[in-house]
Symmetry: C2
Subunit: 289 residues, 2 copies
């Protein structure tokens, strides 16, 4: 089927950061013909987005946006801001405009936004793509190509099919998941690893203080790979951890149990159990490549 991006003629991206910017530049390079409008509270980011020709027009005032032209609104701000933004944009929205997001946390937040925007349709979406960088100046053309995109919906309808087509035309592989399962899965495979990376660097800071040896002078290649994600945005991750608190805390507790188990095997020099746990981890990890 031809690329029609779900038939959404003009698009508004709220939040001109790395993800919002990458959607814009990827749309342009994929042959999207509609207009791309941008909104951001920062006039600097708005200026940059226009200069980079990522968007056709960009605004810092909601009143200035040509709302009647807009078929699809994408929230690309931190998840924490969704509720407030939903309340503010509601009076402007056409009833048949579709609103979606690209946030990493869904769960009850999706229902909350749906209730605020109703009867306007809100569809939760989460592209599994990104870098540890920030800002529209680091936007990547084709960021979503070959990457998973999770639509957190209970059932398909015309709007969800259109949004699926939109993301498929951007190269993403769309999967459907209910919002609560989504939050558990991404607590495990994304939020927990980020928490672990932050904690690992913190532990090395503390160990350096304790001994007076600057451990950061000896970063092996493994350590660098391992903690790359510790360079991710503190604000974004603080919000994600808090928004998905219950799942994140549960997975951290489960991880600490694994860490304690490994520590115990090392302390007891329990070679059989060490080999078993290390081999199981190795096999699982190799199966990902």
């Amino acid at each position: 089927m031809d690329k029609d991006f779900g038939g959404f003629k003009n698009i508004l991206i709220i939040g001109l950061g790395l993800i919002g910017g990458s959607i814009a530049v990827s749309l342009k390079s994929s042959g999207y013909r509609g207009k791309i409008y941008g909104f951001d509270l920062s006039s600097e980011r708005v200026k940059k987005a226009v200069e980079l020709q990522a968007v056709d027009e960009a605004y810092t005032q909601l009143e200035d946006i040509p709302w009647d032209e807009i078929d699809l609104v994408i929230l690309a701000t931190p998840v924490k801001t969704f509720e407030e933004i939903a309340k503010k944009i509601k009076p402007f929205l056409r009833k048949d405009t579709v609103v979606t997001d690209v946030g990493s946390v869904k769960g009850s937040l999706v229902e909350k936004i749906q209730n605020i925007l109703s009867p306007v349709k809100f569809i939760g979406a989460h592209p599994i793509a990104g870098t540890e960088k920030e800002g529209i100046e680091n936007a990547v053309v084709g960021l979503f190509k070959g990457k998973k995109l999770i639509l957190t919906i209970d059932r398909e309808d015309e709007s969800t099919k259109r949004l699926e087509k939109f993301w498929t035309d951007l190269g993403a592989k769309v999967e459907v998941m209910d919002p609560h399962t989504h939050d558990f899965v991404f607590a495990s495979v994304s939020h927990l690893p980020h928490a672990v990376a932050f904690a690992l660097v913190d532990a090395l800071i503390e160990l350096s203080k304790e001994t007076g040896i600057d451990l950061f002078l000896y970063p092996g290649a493994g350590f660098k790979d391992f903690t790359r994600i510790a360079a991710s945005s503190p604000t974004v991750w603080k919000d994600i951890f808090i928004e998905n608190k219950d799942n994140v805390v549960h997975t951290i507790e489960r991880f600490i149990q694994s860490m304690e188990k490994l520590k115990e095997y090392i302390q007891k020099e329990d070679e059989d159990n060490l080999i078993r746990i290390l081999s199981e981890s190795r096999e699982k990890r190799l199966s990902l490549d």
Copy 2:
């Protein structure tokens, strides 16, 4: 100064795995003119090493090695085997042959090996290089180029200067450290991150079992980078964890404290402390690039 590899005319590498093999192929490609002999208990590895022309001759029996020709012996087997190997090779060694290693654990092991081999000189060395792969077939030419190499010595003498020249000529950047400091530093920057990676994959296996959701179907890029080192050799890592037990256990405990601290901040939605700890980790991590 010209490359003379410390004047060691012929070399014996004991253990024809990834590191031993990479030393051999890197020597050959760097213009080393002496003979490179290899030893391994496995006749298959010996055969492969000769086929790949990594070594000139290789043996499975210590008696067959032309010991009188050998100026430098490099132990490139798991650290666990050093003591036994030292005892077995001692009767064959010339008094002026230098013995060294490439193991990740030093500490009291270095003194032990020095005592066994005395009056033959043993110098502990640890190249900070490697991959998660195993086997001489994955040997890398230039693996040590630009990488740190730690000589765990108390003071310099003629032999340590020759070994320093050997590694410098292979492209390594040589640093000197006492063996106990070495073990604490590498527990922190290498052994702990490996333990964390293994435990993280283990936690995801357990969380998958608990919920019936195969979490390994959703590996984000961060998770993949993060756990790459969990694919490292279980035998090698079991040995390292046990040989460096006290330091590894201490750093794991320190890391669990950091993890608990982060968990508490998330549970309490303590935004200020979250931002602080995440920002500190981010800055430290960025300073490595």
